[in-house]
């Protein structure tokens, strides 16, 4: 066990022994360090005012810089990382960084409160990508809200910064030195820090993790903390023991198993996106619409499943695709179809001390088509009112050989539309049959009304998604998508 937390704040090594396990990076910066450049706008990951950049070594040992929300990230999860805040950006001579200067030049700030967060998102973009296109800029900024500017000048700044700076000569471009420093911090010891009898445990291997959890079944597992962080900031829950997945490289890998992709439970959305999109392009698009950059950089599919939420976006897609999960307790493992994991609202088939180790995503079979639709009030960083996912296979005669339709937001758990599936399997894939099945779909669910949508809207949209699937699979000329790549509709 290592009993001190080690990370770099810029170029300064920090070692901290006593730390509240759920102290957020933001509170540490603002209250403890009085580095007040980083702002709090919401304390729930939704506004981006607190955006900082974290450098970490990925499973290949390469240094990655990622924009994250400091307000819901626990300080202790920075172990082995480098933290960069707005205060680090000015050059040694006081000159503004291109990401900052571009914001000044383009009039990208008005009240200025959102600005440090935007600057850090721009900075991360600048470090990682050269001259991205408009859609990519939108994605990189989707997690930062601005109430003053209407965004246009900030988007201009995202282009302008590349005119102002030489990326290769950037102070942060030399990653080797930082990577070496971070590599020197890495070890195989379990980190155990805490204060006042509460602990933060960050094992370095899957076996350590499994043993610790089996021994401390009351511990709270934390992966990206994009859910757990809010328990702390909004509900002020006191977590006695936190068990962090982030240092366990085995849980952070995506492995090709031949007929399936094995996605470690600790793999972030960002890391899962490309391999998943390669198999199922529309699943990739769905992931692009989960949270925003800062959330996807840390949030995990494992967390999205384990939280048991009826409105998580990945479960409907995974269920429609027939995915399974592997659960582990100590050295015991079992594999379960994902749909069987969700027992009822707030109740999952997971025993004390058992955790989600991996998600097993089958590869597509010839002739299968997959579509996923996320419906919310806003395209970016919004929780779905309804999320619908379909896997369809037609036989040579144009009949439905197989259909799996799964929905989020329609019941107390992510759930298949079994009546709808049954109503279509074996029938010709025609509009008349689809319309009949849309009626059946209404029998599959009795959704709730809430602030995201009324029950009536949810039912109507869910049914209409089936029609959309029909149009997309039968009319190659139809325009059906407002966002994302149009080709996804007809893939």
């Amino acid at each position: 066990m290592r009993e001190s937390l080690r990370f770099y704040l810029g170029d300064e090594l920090r070692e901290i022994r006593d730390v509240d396990p759920t102290l957020t990076v933001l509170d540490w910066l603002r209250l403890d360090q009085r580095r007040t450049g980083t702002k709090e706008g919401c304390a729930e990951g939704d506004c981006g005012a607190c955006t900082v950049v974290v450098g970490r070594l990925d499973s290949d040992g390469a240094l990655r810089y990622e924009a994250v929300n400091a307000c819901i990230r626990f300080l202790a999860t920075l172990d082995g990382c480098q933290l960069l805040t707005v205060e680090h950006l000015r050059g040694p001579d006081g000159a503004l960084h291109p990401a900052q200067q571009a914001m000044v030049d383009c009039h990208g700030s008005q009240c200025g409160f959102c600005t440090p967060g935007f600057v850090l998102s721009l900075f991360a973009l600048y470090l990682n990508e050269d001259r991205p296109g408009s859609e990519r800029i939108n994605d990189a900024l989707a997690g930062n809200l601005c109430r003053c500017t209407g965004y246009e000048p900030i988007v201009q700044a995202a282009r302008r910064m590349y005119e102002l700076g030489d990326r290769a000569a950037d102070r942060f471009a030399d990653r080797a030195a930082t990577a070496a420093r971070l590599a020197a911090l890495a070890d195989a010891d379990c980190l155990s820090v805490g204060a006042a009898g509460r602990r933060f445990l960050a094992p370095a291997t899957a076996d350590q993790f499994a043993d610790l959890y089996a021994a401390n079944p009351d511990a709270t597992i934390v992966a990206g903390a994009t859910d757990v962080g809010l328990w702390v900031t909004k509900f002020q829950r006191v977590l006695a023991t936190v068990l962090y997945t982030g240092r366990v490289q085995e849980l952070r890998r995506v492995v090709d198993r031949g007929d399936a992709l094995e996605i470690g439970a600790g793999v972030t959305y960002r890391d899962a996106a490309a391999p998943i999109a390669a198999l199922y392009p529309d699943f990739g698009e769905l992931i692009r619409r989960i949270g925003a950059e800062q959330v996807r950089n840390v949030g995990t599919i494992g967390g999205n499943i384990a939280n048991g939420s009826p409105i998580g976006d990945s479960p409907p897609a995974l269920i429609a695709l027939g995915a399974s999960i592997r659960l582990r307790r100590g050295s015991e493992r079992r594999v379960l179809p994902l749909e069987d994991f969700f027992l009822a609202y707030g109740q999952q088939d997971r025993r004390p001390g058992e955790f989600v180790e991996a998600i097993l995503l089958p590869k597509p079979q010839p002739g299968e088509r997959f579509r996923a639709y996320k419906i919310a009030k806003r395209f970016d960083q919004d929780i779905s009112a309804v999320c619908g996912a379909f896997r369809l296979r037609l036989d040579a005669d144009g009949r439905v050989a197989d259909l799996r339709a799964a929905f989020g937001g329609m019941a107390g758990t992510p759930k298949r539309a079994s009546g709808t599936e049954a109503a279509l399997i074996g029938l010709p894939w025609t509009e008349a049959n689809v319309r009949a099945a849309m009626t059946a779909l209404r029998g599959d669910f009795t959704p709730l009304s809430d602030w995201r949508a009324s029950a009536a809207y949810r039912s109507e949209v869910a049914a209409n998604l089936l029609l959309k699937l029909y149009v997309e699979t039968t009319d190659p000329d139809a325009d059906t998508r407002l966002v994302g790549d149009r080709r996804l509709a007809h893939a």
Binding site: G37, Q110, T480
Partner: protein
């Protein structure tokens, strides 16, 4: 000090003159995180952090308030309730006594503060606040406009009626008549910096309050009132806000008063920064309205008479609901001439948070009604809505009397709209969209061009005054202070430009300082778009007073007439004599010339008789128009804004970069109000969209994909405003209406444009889909 002659600059123009696109004066501090907001101020030793305990009920008697567990919680220093208020327990700006700082025996909305707890850390204070044991006895709660209007119609303040002509007769005689009802939602300000106040106790009765407010003077009065001390004992200061939008006009009172109360009670500094969820629940929002309308019109679509009833959700107290609902009536004509009209307001009391100022201040809700009426006429006649809009525009020489009996004397809307219509290719695009919709089964496009005319001035005439204080230092640097507050709108930048222009010195020499009641007293709220008009003029007057003294001094020294002395870039000269500005200042100082002056300004010409419903409440109007194109998914109701073209009137813009920023930002905020931003209360009166996770404002990707914004050229204000500029804070907000109408147009296509969609706001995807369903059913004759 030797009076060494400084070189006389020979520059031809100063840096940062008026009409130049200067960056915001704090831009470099914004981007580096160095701009200090109130939560960033170095904390005084022993600071206490305050949290509020809130009502869980919409309407109830509090039969017991047991705070013993709160008091006993770790770190708690003090707990205060209504009983601890030494002065009058009222934070309402009108002094009606309807807005207690702390409720005592009666709570009137969920989220109403009952007590405050101060502790060593904010976390401790928040945890302690959650420990109160409150016993309630429920009372019937009125939670919606409908319940209030259809019930006892209790009003929070006196309503207003505007009449012109005989609307009843006009409606009776009109060749055609339509009646309807429009619902338009409220809006949360979502300033990125939440409310915050930091109070530091002083000697005797004194207290200094740093507070994020648009109205330092009002905070000063309220704090004095709560503490029962003279106004002069209270100093209120704010350098900048992280956004205001009207949400910090009166809403900061509560936080400031509470922090000051605790500071004086404990003798320790106290800071109150509510969690975002609490901020949503405690503070008022834009009023939602339901508007009943009847319109009479000719077969050509010319309006002959209008009647409208504006029922507004005021919430539990008056706050600014009176002037807000008044302004709704003042803008219920938008750009259209109503030969006869009767417009009535109904500021209804509900058991929800007390609604307040928000950019546009009721004006947007009034205009939305005007645009709905026009749409109704267009659909009834099968005409393009733009045709009907243009047909009803105010005339320039005639047809120019408003329902409040002011003559529209500076009307430029016909030319402005004609210019935009041509520039954006309205009619070609109209045809292209029809063709697209005929082809495209699921995605339908819509197009709309809507105008804006917004009246500039506070309708409370006495608010139209401002003061400023300018100091010139002996090195030639200048400080300017004025009654306006900086919330991102660039007021300090513009005022600095004005002062730089007056002295003809580089703007780098002019430093705007924090707004404080200690320097400029008795100020008005920075609101009603008037910040620059009023404070810019006051600062100009202060600078001119000093200039006059300097010119007199130079004239005497050079032996020329004072009017021969001119302020040229960087220097002062008369004939072939010249001196640099710093040299002049130093010499003037040595000659004992006063280098500091106050300036004052009051808007001329305006007056308003509310009881009679007559007068000239506005100094001038600001105009603009926007054309929006959208695409709607008819299976889900989702939409995107494909393109927006805006032409907006800023007079002779003081700063085109800042004004463009106001236009773009205002537009997107207005669009958000009418589209995705939805306030959703449950059956118990709890606001369930109480944070950005559930209340969605436009994000980066929601902005128009093509966004062309242009300032109207060659359009100096016809009135003598500061450098002939026009106010720009609020007017562009209403350009967002074009998105609502473009959505409506796309929706109408599902029934061949036969029926007016009557699309209410916010037009969330759900509401769009429901409207599509309604139109389809109607078309099918169901």
């Amino acid at each position: 000090m030797p009076d060494a002659a400084l070189p006389v600059p020979t520059i031809s123009a100063i840096d940062g003159a008026v009409h130049s696109p200067r960056p915001h004066e704090s831009a470099h501090k914004h981007v580096s995180g160095e701009a200090v907001y109130i939560d960033d101020i170095a904390e005084p030793a022993g600071l206490l952090h305050v949290a509020l305990g809130l009502s869980a009920k919409a309407h109830a008697r509090v039969t017991a308030l047991d705070l013993s567990r709160v008091r006993a919680a770790p770190g708690v220093a003090v707990v205060v309730t209504a009983a601890d208020v030494p002065g009058v327990n009222d934070i309402g700006y009108m002094g009606k006594g309807d807005e207690p700082l702390f409720a005592s025996d009666l709570v009137q909305h969920v989220g109403q503060p009952l007590f405050a707890v101060a502790a060593h850390t904010r976390d401790q204070a928040r945890r302690a606040a959650a420990l109160a044991d409150v016993t309630y006895e429920d009372l019937p709660a009125i939670l919606t406009i409908a319940a209030a209007r259809d019930g006892e119609r209790t009003l929070v303040t006196a309503p207003m009626t505007l009449t012109v002509g005989d609307s009843a007769a006009a409606l009776a005689e009109a060749p055609r008549r339509l009646d309807g009802r429009l619902a338009v939602g409220g809006q949360e300000h979502f300033y990125l910096e939440s409310q915050i106040a930091l109070a530091i106790p002083g000697e005797d009765e004194e207290v200094l309050v740093h507070v994020s407010t648009q109205h330092p003077t009002e905070v000063q009065h309220i704090v004095a009132h709560i503490l029962h001390v003279p106004n002069g004992a209270v100093t209120v200061e704010v350098r900048r806000m992280g956004g205001g939008f009207g949400g910090k006009e009166t809403q900061a009172n509560l936080f400031a008063a509470c922090a000051a109360l605790i500071a004086k009670k404990t003798g320790r500094a106290a800071k109150l920064r509510p969690d975002r969820d609490d901020d949503f629940q405690i503070t008022g929002k834009r009023h939602d309205f339901e508007i009943d309308y009847a319109v009479g019109f000719t077969d050509e679509g010319l309006v002959t008479g209008v009647e409208m009833l504006f029922a507004a959700r005021a919430g539990y107290a008056a706050d600014l609901s009176g002037p807000v609902t008044d302004r709704a009536l003042f803008h219920a004509d938008n750009c259209y001439h109503y030969p006869a009209a009767r417009l009535e307001s109904l500021p209804l009391k509900t058991n929800t948070v007390s609604n307040t100022a928000f950019r546009g201040f009721g004006g947007p809700q009034g205009m939305v009604a005007a645009e709905r009426v026009i749409d109704e006429i267009a659909f009834a006649l099968g005409a393009d809505p733009l045709t009907i809009r243009k047909r009803n525009f105010y005339g320039v020489e005639d047809r120019n009397l408003t329902p409040y009996h002011q003559i529209v004397a500076d009307n430029i809307i016909p030319e402005l709209v004609a210019e935009l219509e041509a520039d954006c290719g309205y009619w070609e695009r109209r045809a292209a969209i029809r063709a697209h919709n005929a082809r495209s089964r699921i995605l339908k496009k819509g197009l709309a061009l809507t105008p804006v005319k917004f009246g500039i001035s506070f309708t409370a005439t006495h608010y139209n005054q401002a003061g400023a204080l300018v100091h010139v230092y002996t090195d030639g640097s200048v400080q300017v202070n004025h009654g306006g507050t900086e919330m991102g709108q660039g007021l300090h930048t513009k005022v600095a430009q004005i002062v730089a222009e007056e002295f003809q010195i580089d703007i780098a020499q002019v430093r705007p300082t924090a707004t404080t009641t200690g320097k400029v007293p008795n100020t008005s709220a920075t609101a009603a778009s008037s910040g620059t008009d009023l404070n810019g003029k006051a600062a100009q007057n202060a600078a001119r007073a000093i200039k006059e003294r300097l010119a007199a001094f130079a004239a005497e020294r050079w032996g020329v007439a004072a009017d021969a002395v001119v302020f040229a870039p960087g220097r002062i000269q008369a004939g072939d004599q010249s001196m640099s500005f710093p040299e002049l200042v130093r010499a003037a100082y040595m000659a004992r010339v006063q280098l500091s002056a106050t300036g004052f300004y009051k808007t001329p010409k305006i007056h308003w008789d509310r009881a009679a419903g007559r007068g000239t409440p506005f100094f001038y109007y600001a105009y603009g128009a926007a054309c929006s194109e959208v695409t709607v998914d008819t299976l889900t109701g989702e939409y995107v804004v494909d393109r927006v073209d805006i032409l907006h009137d800023c007079g002779r813009s003081l700063n085109p970069a800042i004004d463009k920023g106001q236009i773009e930002g205002g537009f997107v905020q207005g669009m958000g109000w009418l589209t995705m931003e939805e306030l959703w209360w449950d059956g118990q009166g709890r606001l369930r969209t109480h944070a950005p996770s559930t209340y969605k404002i436009p994000a980066c990707g929601d902005r128009p994909r093509v966004f062309n914004v242009r300032l109207l050229d060659n359009a100096p204000n016809r009135e003598d405003s500061v450098f002939r500029s026009k106010a720009v804070g609020e007017p562009p907000f209403m350009l967002g209406m074009s998105v609502l109408h473009a959505l409506s147009d796309a929706v109408a296509s599902v029934a061949d444009h036969r029926f007016c969609p009557q699309l209410d706001a916010p037009a969330t995807p759900e509401r769009v889909l429901a409207t599509i369903g309604r139109l389809r059913a109607r078309a099918a004759g169901v």
